[in-house]
């Protein structure tokens, strides 16, 4: 856990898109003894308005996409979205189902993907910690925006630089610990072919 990121305790809100429950209970397992992320100050709160990190499990469909969007919009800036489980990344095993639209990134921007079916608690914690890096970058970007109003040009530059930093950071972080999304897809295809 890189302590530099934890300037305050990040609160998470969890929503079950159309998961099989497997990933949800792993998310809860992270919070309970055994993995116990509460020792880092990470708490599961039921209210999106209090949350910094949004954990989504399961894919989106017609019925719940509005709700996922709503929860995302209710969260205050800066915020981070973590897609937990291969369902939330791409639709996973249910990709071919008629009522599955695909990964959560179809509806809201996602900052970190956790592969696995079910995603292991270690991987989820890892993703949240990486998400905290993104959160910090976003926060810095916001602060810079507020603090540098003096010269228009410099202002724009600062914002640009900050945004660049965010995207850079995102690029570095959005990649799951071991594979990129593309690699996962390729690997899965290879595996299925076998």
């Amino acid at each position: 856990m890189s302590a530099a990121y934890v300037t305050k305790s990040p609160w998470v809100v969890h929503y079950d898109g159309s998961s099989c429950n497997g990933c949800d209970i792993e998310v809860l397992a992270c919070l309970t003894p055994g993995y116990d992320v509460e020792r880092f100050g990470i708490i599961n709160c039921g209210n999106p308005k209090h949350a910094d990190v949004f954990l989504v499990t399961g894919s989106v469909n017609e019925q719940n996409k509005g709700i996922v969007k709503q929860i995302y919009e209710q969260m205050p800036e800066p915020k981070v979205v973590v897609a937990v489980g291969i369902c939330a990344c791409s639709g996973g095993i249910f990709k071919d189902c008629y009522n599955v639209m695909g990964g959560v990134d179809q509806v809201i921007p996602v900052d970190a993907y956790v592969p696995g079916c079910a995603a292991r608690p270690e991987a989820i914690i890892d993703a949240v910690v990486k998400g905290l890096g993104v959160l910090q970058a976003k926060r810095d970007a916001m602060v810079n925006k507020v603090e540098a109003p003096a010269e228009e040009a410099e202002d724009a530059k600062a914002i640009e630089a900050a945004e660049d930093a965010v995207t850079e950071e995102k690029k570095a972080v959005a990649v799951p610990p071991i594979f990129t999304m593309a690699e996962i897809k390729v690997n899965t295809m290879d595996f299925l072919k076998k």
Binding site: D16, S18, C20, A29, P33, P48, I67, I93, F94, C97
Partner: protein, 360 residues
Amino acid sequence: MAKRTIVPFGPQHPVLPEPIHLDLVLEDETVVEAIPSIGYIHRGLEKLCEIKDFEQMVYVVERICGICSFGHGWGACASMEGALGIKIPERAEYLRTILHELGRVHSHLLWLGLMADAFGFESLFYHCWRIRETVLDLFEKNTGGRVVFSICKPGGMRKDISNENLQEMVKVLNGLKADIKEVTDTFIQDASVKNRMTGVGVLTKEEAMELCAVGPTVRGSGVRQDIRLTGDHGVYKELGFEPCVEEAGDCMARTVVRIREVFQSIELIEKAVEMIPDGPVDMKVPKKVEGEFAIRLEQPRGEAFYYAKGQGTKFLKRMRVRTPTNINIPALVKMLGGADLADVPVLVLTIDPCISCTER
């Protein structure tokens, strides 16, 4: 008459790990009517069997629900084995029974924790889940997965579990008993827990039977109903199984049923490990399914029904699953009528809802 208000409950709600939506019609603080609406997690699994062959289908069916995933895998395999007309080796049948009962221990501990969370007893929640982690470790050691195992396949088991590992499993579980007892005694004896559960959400025997409730919900109302009694799956007949029944029909009774079942499952595992025969766990299966078959299984939440119909190819024509929460929702709606608003979370959890089962 007091003015009526409608309070929406869910789909995103702190006590709900899964989305279900209830419109609660209130008069003051009393619920007059609850109107459920579902469909947030519907995926369309049954249709998927047209493009996945019958062996791949097991992986999909297991993911109906991550909590009773072993049971679902078993149900799917058993229905396909029936349709294929094969009988699996005895050792595989024993192993399935053992893992299914282990799944029940984990599922009930999980539920006890969520229930404690619903009435605001957070440390109890954490203790239940702490114990559950040990059970998950057993699963991980013997099957390779924590929540989704994929160890069942049509024709038997994907791999054997050695007798030493089984004996160690029994040892670990017996060691857990004291821990479980300490936690569950809190449920039964603690005054604050009693206040929240005794006499809340009473479902009489007649109502339970009329609404076709299943599983611990109906057994908590004094009905001796358990699919394990029929003996058409697993080795429950050989193990001499007798269901746990409580008479009161309130939330407390349903909790006590589940607590007793945790200990009963550990005993069943112990007996099965003593009796398990040696031999193969797997057999060759035909590549094409013809015929049809239906089987019922007692899941931690109640009766689940599986139906498979072949069409002479490796693809099934139809795979149908009916799950316990689906059947228990009418009982839940009945219990909610006349309840206090503050009791709603407890009542929703008392049937042990598994929404992803319900909607598939």
